[in-house]
């Protein structure tokens, strides 16, 4: 009853073309953003920030970037972890090597470096398609894993191989409390999500989708595959690179190449598949699901064991987590191959008609 668009007439092109054409959606989004910015910092405790909220924000950002490449442009990439690493290490090097480098600029420059690397490793996509491309992007993953481990210049010759940043502050405001970190990441996420949402609705976004649906046909109607694919790689790896820099700077503080291993790439791919390919909203759902599942299993399994009077040792819990994680992924793919975003839109359709069946 509440969610109905009757009487909302569009009288100008502007109102017809807006991102959220339904007034209730607009209100809901504003409320959500307001709650995330004001309500959550007041309510959440430190554990929640560290274990769930901050990882969720940063990984949603990375998933958003990956979704542009895989979901909108149809180029499967297994090298996301590497692009995150490039963003993080580039930002680190800008911070260390240039005196008085503002954090914001370092983060964005990290993204720019990731863009360059992303375009470079995206060039093969002009010739290679599908699964072949997926394996080819693994080259990026393994190469950069190795480079950040072995080439000491990248880690500023630190003896342990791990790098760290401290005393982050932006425009004079220190980012040291969990709340500040959370808000910092939230701002990034909101800005990039809005940019991405508008980008995929635009000329270039439609080109990406045409390439995804059938690249030969797209080329025939005059879309340049080179331009479309490489811009998708560029935009995607920029966002992923910034997310990587945030992951290193804000979430981890000090990190090693292992933080951006191939598991991270798989994890992000899981997020967008479970969330929904080709959906901005889906990236958030997927990230929330994948971030919270291990935390939930970690809490639930010992409790469940206690219920039956069995104490489960940590190794078994780790293995059981793997099993349940794998089984749930398969289950999700079978039940809803189009991801949580599809469930969301089905729910919205139903809500428009409610309480009537048709």
């Amino acid at each position: 009853m509440l969610y109905r668009e009757n009487g909302q007439f569009k009288t100008s092109y502007r109102s017809d073309q807006q991102v959220f054409p339904i007034a209730q959606d607009r209100i809901a989004i504003w409320l959500l953003v307001a709650f995330a910015a004001v309500g959550v910092p007041l309510l959440a405790d430190e554990y929640l920030f560290r274990a769930i909220l901050i990882p969720f924000l940063i990984l949603s950002l990375a998933a958003l970037g990956l979704n542009i490449l895989v979901g909108y442009c149809g180029q499967i990439s297994l090298g996301t972890g590497a692009f995150m690493a490039v963003g993080a290490y580039a930002a680190y090097n800008f911070m260390v090597r240039i005196d008085g480098m503002p954090v914001l600029a370092a983060l964005l420059l990290g993204g720019v470096c990731a863009t360059v690397v992303g375009v470079l490793f995206g060039i093969p996509s002009l010739r290679i398609k599908g699964l072949y491309l997926a394996v080819a992007t693994l080259a990026a993953q393994f190469f950069w894993d190795w480079a950040f481990l072995r080439i000491k210049w990248f880690t500023n010759y630190s003896s342990s191989g791990s790098v760290s940043v401290a005393n982050l502050n932006i425009f004079g405001i220190p980012i040291d409390t969990p709340q500040a970190k959370y808000l910092f990441c939230l701002v990034f996420l909101v800005v990039f999500a809005m940019a991405a949402k508008n980008l995929v609705r635009s000329h270039i976004g439609r080109e990406w989708m045409a390439i995804r649906d059938m690249d030969v046909a797209a080329a025939v109607i005059g879309i340049r595959p080179v331009y479309a694919k490489l811009t998708a790689f560029a935009v995607s790896s920029f966002i992923v690179g910034v997310a990587g820099a945030l992951w290193g700077f804000v979430h981890l503080g000090s990190w090693e190449p292992a933080a951006f291993s191939i598991d991270r790439s798989f994890q992000l791919l899981f997020m967008i598949i479970i969330g929904g390919l080709g959906s901005i909203m889906g990236s958030f759902f997927g990230a929330a699901f994948i971030v919270m599942l291990p935390v939930f299993l970690n809490q639930a399994l010992p409790a469940l064991g206690g219920l039956f009077g069995v104490t489960i040792d940590t190794a078994t819990i780790a293995h059981a987590e793997l099993m349940i994680f794998g089984a749930l992924i398969v289950f999700f793919l079978i039940v809803e191959p189009h991801g949580l975003a599809r469930l969301w839109s089905i729910g919205k359709e139903k809500l428009r008609l409610w309480p009537f069946p048709h």
Binding site: A134, V135, A136, A139, F142, R150, L269, L322, G326
Partner: protein, 309 residues
């Protein structure tokens, strides 16, 4: 010259082992169009089962004969792999018919997680030994030709021979038996095969079982070389460039790709590696593949990809 040949031979033998794992990928991809990321997990589970059963069976039955124990353990592990194949077909693949390639790929990743977890829950997660009596001592070849001869690991030699025999066996199976012909028919065209009465579901179970068998053999060989532990499932990641280099749909491609990658890795590590600080084995295969694919997007022996609108 001697050391060059030594590296070359070492590379060839490692390559043979890579192709053993790559073979599992190719078999499944050909028959069901699934890029099976779980191949590594299958190798790990099979090797774990083999290692543990060969310890347990003599205890259970109360005898002390290593050969018999190994044979029985091998059979038990094989039964397990067939069961796994059947379950995967029943619970996963048959529900995901007609989905896109990436969805299937993710499903096999899910299977991989599940198998990694369940294998280690059932059989434990320590490092285990597989001892099938492969001799470990190195031998020297061509001692009269070169100064000092060429050092070759006898174990590698046996492993390579077993791998070669397995490949020969598989190609006989594919060429001569009616099941093999059915498998090739399914690989060529699912619908046409189904319309002449080949049961797709059974074929998939068979193919996954054969891949399980290949995984078991690979697991036994790698396991007796490196010990059975979690890192065994990562060997599959080394075999990925092999599959892509040879072409996803070609069995000979998997073999030749394996040899090329094996040799390339070893030679590059020895002759180029020192300039980069070493350890370039990890990515050499992938970067090599990247450049080959730029010239031949379907791999060296893959079917030509034809785009239709």
């Amino acid at each position: 010259m001697g050391s060059f040949l030594e590296t070359l031979l070492g590379g060839l033998m490692t390559g043979m082992l890579y192709s053993l794992i790559a073979l599992g990928f190719v078999l499944i991809y050909k028959a069901s169009g699934v890029f099976n990321f779980a191949q590594g997990a299958m190798v790990l589970s099979a090797a774990l089962a083999m290692a543990r059963f060969s310890e347990w069976i003599p205890e259970w039955l109360g005898f002390d004969n290593k050969i018999l124990a190994n044979v029985l353990a091998f059979c038990m592990a094989m039964v397990m792999m067939v069961m796994a194949a059947w379950l995967i077909e029943r619970l996963v693949l048959s529900k995901l018919v007609n989905q896109e390639g990436i969805t299937l790929l993710m499903a096999t990743l899910g299977i991989a997680y599940f198998m990694d977890g369940s294998g280690q829950t059932l059989f434990g997660s320590d490092i285990y030994k597989i001892d099938v009596g492969l001799p470990k001592d190195p031998i020297f070849l061509f001692e009269n030709v070169f100064q000092g001869g060429i050092l070759v690991n006898k174990e590698d030699l046996y492993a390579a021979a077993i791998a070669a025999a397995l490949v020969a066996l598989l190609s006989l199976f594919f060429q001569k038996t009616s099941t093999g012909r059915a498998l090739r028919a399914v690989a060529d065209d699912h619908q046409a095969a189904q319309s002449i009465g080949i049961p797709l579901n059974r074929i998939w179970v068979i193919v996954w079982s054969v891949a399980g068998f290949v995984a078991l053999v690979a697991g036994v060989i790698w396991g007796s070389k490196l010990g059975v532990q979690f890192s065994l499932s990562l060997v599959a990641l080394k075999a990925l460039p092999v599959v892509i280099l040879g072409g996803l749909t070609s069995v000979p491609g998997a073999i030749i790709g394996g040899l090329i990658i094996g040799v390339g890795e070893k030679l590059s590590e020895v002759y180029i590696g020192p300039f980069f600080g070493g350890g370039i084995e990890i990515w050499f295969g992938y970067v090599l593949v990247l450049f080959v694919l730029l010239v031949r997007p379907q791999g060296l022996f893959g079917e030509k990809i034809i785009d239709r609108v």
